[in-house]
Amino acid sequence: MSGAAFRRVPGERVLAEAAAVRHRGGGGGGSVRGTLYCTNLRVAFVPALGAQAPSSRTFLHSEYDVALPCIRKLVAASSFAKPKVLTAASSLKFVPEELAVHCRDFRVLRFLFHESGLQPQAFRVATAIAQAREAAAWPGDAETALEDDDDDEEDEDEDEEEEEEEEGPTLLFESLRDWEKELKRQGAAGWRVSAVNERFDMATSLPKYLWVPSRLLDKDLKRAFAHFEERRVPRLCWHHPGGSDLLRAAGFHGASDPQREDVRCLEALMLAGHGQCVLVEAAAELPSLAELQLAHLKLRALCLPDSPVADDKWLSALEATRWLEHVRACVRKASEVVSLLAGRRCSVVLQESDDRDLNCLLASLAQLLADPHARTLPGFQSLVQREWVAAGHPFGRRLGLGRPSPRDEAPVFLLFLDCTWQLVRQFPACFGFTESYLLALHDSSFVPYFSTFLFNCQWQQGRTGQHRASGQTYTPVSGWREPVAVAGGGRGGAPSRWPPTVWDWRLRYSRQQRARFRNPAGPRGGSAPVGPTAPQPGGGGGSAAGAGAVWVLAKGALWPQPQPFPWRSKRLPRWVPSLESLGEPEPEPERGPGSSPLPAPPPRGPLLPCAAGPAIRLWRRCYLRAVPEGQRGRFAPSPAGLAEELRLLQERLRAWRPAAPRGPEEPAR
């Protein structure tokens, strides 16, 4: 009796199932009845019909689904035996009454098998989950058999088109067009898209297309690759409307021996036509990957319901995880970078030894602070797509969803989401998306069906797609060569491209859930880059420094770099401006609470968040969600709902107006 309502992912097989299971929801009281499935990919719970509004059904379920790699611990409990941690090796010696699935995304799902007569099912499904977890196949594996899904009837999701049109689509940065479009939006006049890496023969981990100075020819550009780790050359991330440029690059390759001509190219690349260049060592003052991973593990241990920490030690235990300190360091450093960009006309080069972790974080965080477009929903998705996915952040290794060794794991992306959440908390009106959205993205990064998080770089993604396209039964509707620009598409719920990108939110989130993603009070439109304060020409002693000055940002101040490249030395003028003198834009004058009917528009300059201890908060709705009582007060009527009501009334009013003849005095609005 295969569940009729259970929709399978391509290649998915049901290994065991148990009917009449209760899922105990958060917040104490209620539980939902349904069927629990264990497949070769995930543990899924399908609520019984009637337990749920049909419109809230989605292809995958964000609340009840757990991908096997996301399971951290299985605990079976019974009133007759003490709770037992299940593994594939250990055998279950009692019939469980409750199965608790501890997930890596901080959820804990509890399934109760208390209906009589179902013991064998309960036993079977618990054992199956324990075993399937060890043997978990993940869709990134080429051998995964993908079969055509027998598509069941599709429901009424059809009509709803995402309102993406008004704000522009999410750019995936797989095609040349996306890179050109974005470069144009940024108004970076002195830059062009180079296709020098189109076949990944320059650097496998870099994207196909790179933004480089217009004046630099591809043949000169090619000289640069050898002098950087992993051949990751400096390239543009973001162009400040005031003229500054944000670049990112890997560390200099120690063993290379550049010729004179090479050095000239390197200089042209890094200075990008500016008189000054500031090198920002990304790793300085930021945690190492190992520290980050440790902090995350400690945080998870602390936030679980069975945490042994005593009440009066909770805050110091939280401190001891160091997680919040890491968040604080990132927010502060990104603010420094943004102050640099806004304060003077220069090029700022983020440099990290392999340019694939903290650089992603800093580059995207800086853009969130400085570019209003990045704070819209599609803008944010494009940003993640460009600075993380295309730039080759090794998601596969860092998130640890696949096979690779755990020592590569590091939650760099999750740290970025936390930093973003801090910004949303501090500047709620400046963002087009909400906490719910960030939470959805956080959870989705543990779901191994999304191309976004499966691969380590574009090249790998392409190879996997090619392999599949040639030999397998399943041919993606749009293959890797002609990727679709807009995520999603296809018939209601079922993805047109497998694996889908994470941006196809309809797969896992119902319409109601997605309504909460958008911030109705956020900036409108906003695709045009807003020109913040123009950098002061020659500010910070630029004229004195002369052409080709290179500085290093350290400890919040700029230091002259006598040897910009490790291979040659050159005297540079001594002049140390402190960051504080860098025309740090004044924070917008703050409005008193409720001073005008509608709050003031968000500030035009960059956001400068407060990074003092009390201003950095724990993301409770994310990390404490296994503790239902920790979620109290979280789910107030959504602002989106209120805004919709308002819009409805306005429309009704508009409809009335032409009908009613004008009175002597039309009430002025």
Partner: protein
């Protein structure tokens, strides 16, 4: 005003706490009631006003390298002001003056006796009648078969810190009450605080019994029995001692202590350890030290917060309140609460429990009633605890601050349950210390009566009520589940539920707060929705009347075409003319609540007004320009034109002399 040695100092710098490099140059004025700093920068001329009664400490700091003299002023509303005065002499004079001004010795020196919001006698009286405790007990369903009002304490004959009107069990005779009062510390006998008419369970309060190691009192035992019997369904009574057991035992040696279960019939005795006022005072002190750190790191902050123990204490108070609410609502058992004297911890715990039990106390009006009932009327020692008059510093403790924080913590957990918002709580806290209104003067009702507070000062509640639009919580809905019945917060070990209230303790650090307030936005959206609904209704009515006219029109048309057509039009004109006008008035009344139009005459608006008007959320800045002291026409230093000239400064001094 003989205490002001130095009415005006120029070239004073006001340091910004967040970024020390930003200091504003300006002039410092001392008046009879305020310290005022006016910026020199001509386009802003921002003013910072601090009431003398808000000053908690003044500190002269070491002379700077440049030979300037810093002065640090800490306020009871958690503002910290750092001034740099060029001349040592001036600095010393300001210091000496402020020391005296901040510690008045007579009630008459307090601001509320000079504050005049220009209300007539009737309005003043009506203001005081806004909160009526008899009405409140009636609302609870009292008097009834079990409870009655007793006049045993008229003229404060039995207990001078209790109100004259006390609610006691009907079966408790005057003899029993007086007997019991003699067996209770400071004669604070058991009296009713809250009554739950659904199940007859109640919360009573008293002070500790004078039991020592073995003393008994028959009347006291009868009193407790009488209380138990007011709840016929329950066969026992909880007696909750809110002190740590050790403290209670120590009291026995002094002939005080706690009830012996063997001597009282059918009581269940329970300790719930809330620390005493001295522990709380030093805990707050430690937390404020953390708040004063300049850009604290994560570990500075989290360790400091934990070591202060503040949140732990807040949780202890909440836990006690939850215990009592549970006993009353779920077990249907009455509770008698006491601590030592029954005016600090008892007040905290009774009011938290009432707030959890009764949705009425979660409305704005109800909250005022609650403070009036459990704090003001039962003799919470406002003067001693909040240091309104110069007194023993060991008596000072943030007792009601903790209660207010408990309410805020509940608001965070139940965002839809409260009619009022955070700002309301902050303003209540501010005025407990400001002494601008008479509500919280003195230590008991008796003292207030002797001072004739109601004739000589104004009530805060009327002021807040007038501006209630500013204090509404947009998420509050009457039909929401959180708005009904008992709130049930978690009692499990979950300290992480309790958060640092940066809106209160970092209130003046603007950089620390979210730059935009979601709540304010929601409020604005809600108001706009309401406005549109009103508009829609009016348009609907207008349409209906038009249709009616048209109908008439058609009927008459058949008879006298031309003539009647005209008539019809004219009637339609009339109907149209009325409605929009009315409507326009509505419209006007709506934004007038919005502070941008700031009601200039209304001095009582001060708080909200400048909150909203200037971009400055602190209460002291620009405080009451139009406020009370009428004679001070030149008091505002900026009134003399763009730059305050010597003359205007002098004028202001003279005016100050005139007032007192």
């Amino acid at each position: 005003m003989e205490h002001i040695r130095m009415p005006k100092v120029e070239n004073v710098r006001l340091l910004d706490r967040v970024s020390s490099r930003k200091a504003t140059l300006g002039t410092l004025y001392l008046t009879a009631t305020h310290v005022i700093f006016v910026e020199n920068a001509s386009e802003t001329r921002k003013e910072t006003w601090v009431l003398h009664s808000q000053i908690s400490s003044i500190e002269k700091q070491a002379t700077t390298a440049t030979g300037c003299h810093p002065l640090l002023i800490r306020c009871k509303n958690f503002q910290v002001i750092q001034l740099i005065i060029p001349q040592e002499r001036d600095c010393h004079d300001v210091y000496i003056s402020l020391i005296r001004l901040a510690r008045p010795v007579k009630y008459e020196e307090l601001y509320c006796f000079s504050f005049n919001p220009k209300l007539d006698k009737e309005e003043q009286e009506r203001g005081w009648k806004l909160v009526d405790l008899n009405e409140e007990y009636n609302r609870m369903g009292i008097p009834n078969n079990y409870w009655q009002i007793s006049d045993v304490n008229r003229d404060y004959g039995v207990c001078d810190s209790y109100p004259t009107e006390v609610y006691v069990p009907k079966s408790a005779t005057a003899h029993i009450i007086v007997g019991s009062s003699k067996f209770r510390s400071r004669r604070r006998f058991p009296a009713l605080s809250y009554y739950c008419k659904d199940n007859n369970a109640s919360i009573c309060r008293s002070s500790q019994p004078l039991s020592g190691f073995s003393a008994r009192c028959l009347e006291d035992e009868l009193m407790l029995q009488a209380i138990r019997k007011t709840n016929p369904e329950s066969d026992f009574l909880y007696v909750v001692d809110t002190r740590p057991k050790l403290n209670a035992m120590a009291n026995r040696a002094a002939g005080k202590g706690y009830e012996n279960e063997d001597n009282y019939s059918n009581i269940k005795f329970q300790f719930i350890g809330i620390e005493n006022i001295h522990v709380m005072r030093s805990s707050l002190q430690k937390m404020l030290e953390v708040c004063e750190l300049k850009s604290p790191s994560m570990s500075d902050f989290l360790w400091g917060l934990e070591n202060s123990g503040w949140l732990k204490h807040i949780k202890a108070i909440m836990d006690a309140g939850i215990f009592i609410a549970k006993a009353v609502a779920e077990e249907g058992v009455s509770v008698l609460v006491h601590c030592s004297d029954g005016w600090d911890r008892t007040a905290q715990v009774c009011s938290v429990a009432s707030l959890l039990l009764d949705p009425y106390y979660r409305t704005m009006k109800g909250f005022m009633v609650l403070i009036e009932k459990d704090w003001v009327s039962f003799g919470h020692k406002f003067n001693h605890r909040y240091g309104n008059l110069d007194g023993d510093p060991k008596e000072i403790s943030p007792v009601i601050d903790q209660f207010i924080e408990c309410v805020w913590q509940l608001m965070e957990q139940f965002p839809c349950a409260f009619e009022f918002n955070e700002r309301f709580l902050i303003h209540v806290q501010h005025h407990i210390y400001s002494c601008q209104f008479g509500n919280f003067l003195c230590n008991s009702q008796k003292e207030r009566q002797e001072l004739k507070i109601q004739e000589r000062t104004y009530s805060l509640w009327a002021h807040l009520w007038k501006n209630r639009a500013d204090y509404l919580n947009p998420l509050y809905r009457l039909d929401h589940s959180q708005t009904q019945g008992t709130l049930r917060p978690q009692i499990a070990p979950c300290i992480f539920l309790y958060k640092f209230w940066s809106g209160m303790y970092n209130r003046f650090e603007k950089g620390m707060h979210p730059r935009q307030s979601v709540t304010d936005y929601l409020m604005a959206v809600k108001e706009e929705t309401q406005q549109l609904e009103e508009e829609l209704e009016v348009l609907g009515e207008r349409l209906a009347s038009l249709q009616k006219v048209q109908l008439n029109d058609n009927e008459v048309k058949s008879k006298q075409q031309d003539q009647n057509k005209e008539l019809g039009r004219s009637t339609s004109n009339i109907s149209l003319a009325n409605t929009p006008q009315e409507y326009n008035n509505n419209l006007k009344s709506f934004p007038s609540r919005s502070p941008s139009q700031g009601d200039e005459e209304d001095s009582a608006l001060i708080l909200t007004q400048d909150n909203l008007k200037s971009s400055d959320p602190d209460l002291s800045a620009n405080s009451d320009q139009e406020s009370g002291v009428e004679d001070l026409s030149c008091r505002s230093p900026s009134s003399g034109g763009c730059l305050p000239s010597e003359d205007s400064g002098k004028d202001s001094d003279e005016a100050v002399f005139l007032t007192i």
